[in-house]
């Protein structure tokens, strides 16, 4: 039987240690100085009670319930209203939240959660194991886009008493313990959702949770207001009286609002990176890149393997050698990022494998590989033409496409950019497969089982399913490793399997990871107590406070 480590209820003690560590680590990565400037904000001082924190969230949430729609904006706001069973510390290990403790038994087929007593929903009803059962079986497993895969092995949730919930699994599913925070798997009130049309339940826009803040008002297109929950189970928290999430759709206007002090907190790279350098010099503001490891975004290219040129591994390797990743990051992302050597980012130290086949920038090698593949330069210097459908989220990905186009031109590949809106792109790339190379950002997730296998599993090459294996990659060896790691309860063996999967992916190159992305949080220096956990940008602001 595996028991959770006996840790203090909350990881406040090691925050400073982490900040120092993060500073050194970021400096070692050669990231821009401003990246670490958050560490320069003194963490000392007693939290001050009261005040209104004004944040900006973009895009506007579409629902305040991640089971209904789990885009980051929804989760980022609603994680203040709802709790998860667990939280995660700086080392990405689970910590108590609504579950005070947990035990894994029966070879990983059973997880027992002992729930916190005396917790109330914001409407005064008691929180019980029945809420956990309802949330897990009806919301996370059936409705939540990612939960359907994460909780696939969940057969039932037994509730022997109001404060015990036992997850019964068809096979070990270690990924579940990495998916139980307040953003990913929100515990929602059974008494308000049972026997309703969940997608149309008005509580999706006016949530009733157990979290540190109580929903007060959502004026669509303007703002969302949350107020302090005076009866929050984590005594003394939250420190703030009120949270306001403002909706400012224009990026330049968001930058202005930060400069004028109208907003204190802007997570998820809310302003253009070109503006970050300017804002970094503002003595009233701090810039940080921590709090995003839970999602761990990677920027990559997908190769359509049904394209005769791209079906040749030598061509894919040539493209990998032809792209200057550091140059791409410096030019397009202003240095915010790190060249990717594997689809699992290096910050996920429990899973990252650095010993994979490398495809470092080497245009000479790229040319040799293309010659070897029989793709010789024509009279115009072009070997062949491919179309690039860049991810249509703002101009950044078009700029990245332009940069790559210049790189590939040098080795004789004509890389033609094609723009479109997001629904058209999704249809083209995941339904019609009418593309050659697309660019994408993939949330690999803190436990990469949530984000990586879907790109590589051959059975996940399903027409019409966004975020699936759209390259047509089919390698029985990769399938075997994925199946094995999904049910491997031993952490060491699982890490080895993930290592193996990364090596296979970087050998076969159906996808080409280019950059470990860094999101940017900009906040007022008056704002203290921002969490440093891997999911901080998606976690509640219960610890945050405003200094005078």
């Amino acid at each position: 039987m595996l028991k959770n480590p006996s840790r203090s209820p909350l990881p406040a003690v090691s925050r400073r240690r982490f900040s120092q560590g993060a500073f050194i680590a970021l400096a070692a990565l050669g990231l821009p100085g401003g990246v670490a400037s958050a560490a320069a904000v003194p963490a000392a001082g007693q939290p001050v009670r009261g005040g209104t924190l004004v944040a900006v969230i973009q895009p506007e949430p579409t629902a305040l319930a991640s089971a209904v729609n789990n885009n980051y904006a929804n989760a980022s706001v609603s994680a203040n209203v709802y709790d998860g069973l667990l939280r995660y510390d700086e080392e990405m290990l689970p910590q108590p939240a609504l579950a005070e403790s947990w035990e894994v038994s029966d070879g990983g087929r059973s997880i027992l959660f002992r729930l916190r007593k005396g917790v109330k929903w914001h409407d005064g009803a008691d929180f019980t194991a029945a809420d956990v059962r309802f949330s897990a079986l009806e919301l996370w497993k059936k409705l939540h886009a990612r939960g359907r895969v994460t909780f696939a092995a969940l057969l039932d949730v037994e509730t022997p008493d109001p404060h015990t919930a036992i997850f019964r699994l068809s096979a070990p599913a270690p990924v579940i313990l990495s998916a139980l925070n307040a953003a990913e798997s929100q515990v929602m009130p059974k008494h308000l959702y049972e026997n309703t049309d969940i997608l149309k339940n008005p509580r999706n826009n006016a949530p009733v949770g157990t979290g540190p803040f109580i929903f007060k008002e959502w004026r669509k297109g303007q703002h969302i207001v949350l107020e302090r929950n005076p009866g929050y189970w984590d005594e003394g928290k939250p420190h703030l009286d009120r949270l306001v999430f403002r909706i400012i759709p224009d990026a330049a206007s968001r930058a202005v609002a930060l400069e004028t002090g109208e907003i204190h907190y802007a997570p998820f790279t809310a302003v253009p990176l070109a503006d970050v350098a300017r804002l970094r010099d503002d003595p009233a503001l701090a810039v940080s890149t921590s709090g995003y490891a839970f999602q761990s975004h990677v920027f990559l290219l997908d190769f359509n393997l049904s394209n005769p040129h791209l079906a040749d591994l030598r061509v894919r390797r040539a493209i990998a050698h032809a792209i200057d990743r550091q140059g791409l990051i410096d030019t397009v992302w202003y240095g915010f990022g790190k060249p990717a050597v594997s689809p699992v980012p290096s910050q996920l130290t429990r899973f990252h494998n650095p010993d994979v086949p490398r495809h470092d920038y080497d245009p000479g090698r790229a040319e040799a590989l293309l010659d070897e593949a029989g793709l010789l330069r024509g009279a115009n210097g072009i070997r062949f033409t491919v179309t690039h459908d860049y991810l249509p989220f703002g101009e950044t990905y078009r700029d990245a496409g332009e940069y790559i186009r210049n790189n590939l031109k040098k080795v004789g590949i004509d890389f033609v950019l094609r723009g479109q809106d997001y629904p058209s792109w999704t249809r083209r790339v995941y339904t019609d497969y009418a593309y050659d190379i697309d660019s994408n950002t993939v949330a690999v997730m803190m436990d990469p089982e949530m984000g990586l296998p879907r790109l590589l599993l051959s059975t996940n090459h399903v027409r019409g399913v966004p975020t699936s294996n759209n390259t047509g990659y089919d390698n029985p060896e990769a399938d075997r490793v994925i199946k094995a790691l999904q049910v491997e309860p031993d952490a060491g063996k699982r890490k080895a399997l993930f290592g193996e999967l990364q090596a296979i992916a970087m050998t076969d190159l159906p996808i080409l990871p280019l950059s470990e992305m860094r999101h940017v949080t900009i906040h007022s220096r008056k704002l203290r107590g921002l969490a440093q956990a891997p999911d901080a940008a998606l976690a509640s602001l219960a610890d945050a406070w405003l200094s005078a």
Partner: protein, 327 residues
């Protein structure tokens, strides 16, 4: 029933097939564009399965043939039900009613401001034809017409929000403001309204200046103006009572047309200033393929255009006795 009322009724009935055509055309256009709401939501979610997609399409009513989707929609409209926006998690009717007042406030303020200043400058330019002042007004109004709205908006923000700190840069109200009364709240909305309304009005203002100037110059040359002057009327009376009144017809026509077109302008201005209006909502609906919401907005805007045009026709009759309201 009086003639004018019968006329109004007839025009409204005539508008019904037009509204139907607008809905049908837009429905078809939206269905022709690749991708649907299920693609968008699944794409954003970062994970999906075939069952998940099937489930979404069933819930959104996208799993049935297109003509049946359209019939269902029309059936809903006949019951005054604009449908449900699964993207926004609200009935479309509620969403539109929530956003419409902000757009109307912004549009009307901008048009009124543009009308007042535009007509005034147009009169001044016409009166001082060929002078330096006339040239200056022409140049400035051409610049206003040619400058992109988003740039004007951002420049006004830099000046009045960042440098001078006189006005807020975004939003419609001060969040969490403790208003002492209705007046306080309106004052706050007014402060937020200044920059977006001025930005939006600049484009229209330039048009009014030019139209007023040319209409005034045209009327100036007519015989009745000479007669009015010969009667010994003061110049102010000649300009206001005779010239301007006759020059107003094209201005009224353009205003009617612009009230319809102003929705286009509000998309940009609402985005730059975070103004919670219908234009921005429409833009979001396009990019998320939120068909119900978009059709609802189109219906609403076409209804507004029809009513405004009707009002313009009635206003003609009031302004020009030669124009009669007939069957």
């Amino acid at each position: 029933m009086p003639t004018s009322l019968r006329y109004v009724f007839r025009r409204l009935v005539q508008a019904l097939p037009m509204a139907f055509a607008i809905v049908l055309l837009n429905f078809l256009l939206l269905k022709l564009t690749p991708g649907d709401l299920a693609d968008v939501i699944a794409g954003e979610s970062g994970s999906a399965t075939p069952e998940f997609m099937e489930n979404l399409r069933r819930l959104y009513g996208l799993d049935i043939p297109v003509h049946l989707q359209f019939l269902n929609y029309i059936q809903g409209i006949l019951h005054f039900d604009l449908g449900y926006s699964f993207r926004q998690g609200m009935p479309v009717g509620e969403l539109i009613l929530e956003r419409l007042p902000a757009t109307i406030l912004l549009s009307l303020t901008a048009i009124l401001f543009a009308l007042l200043i535009g007509v005034l400058l147009g009169v001044v330019a016409a009166r001082s034809r060929g002078s330096l002042l006339d040239e200056a007004i022409s140049v400035v109004s051409t610049m206003g017409f040619a400058t992109p709205l988003f740039w004007v908006g951002l420049m006004l923000i830099v000046l009045f929000s960042i440098e001078l700190r006189w006005l807020p840069s975004a939003g419609m109200v001060t969040v969490g403001a403790d208003y002492r009364g209705r007046w306080d709240e309106w004052l706050d909305i007014g402060r937020h309204l200044v920059l977006p309304a001025v930005t939006l009005s600049l484009f229209f203002l330039s048009i009014y200046v030019r139209i007023t100037r040319s209409a005034m110059l045209e009327v100036y040359g007519l015989d009745f103006v000479r007669t009015a002057r010969a009667k010994g009327l003061t110049e102010a009376r000649v300009v206001i009572r005779h010239v301007l009144r006759n020059a107003l017809l094209p201005i009224v026509t353009v205003t009617g047309l612009q009230l319809g077109a102003i929705f286009g302008g509000t998309v940009v201005v609402e985005t730059v200033f975070g103004w919670p209006g219908l234009g921005r909502l429409a833009q979001e609906a396009v990019f998320s393929r939120d068909v119900n919401l978009l059709l609802g907005i189109f219906l609403c805007s076409s209804f507004i255009v029809i009513v405004v045009n009707l009002a313009v026709d009635l206003l003609y009759a009031a302004l020009d006795p030669r124009v009669e309201v007939r069957q």
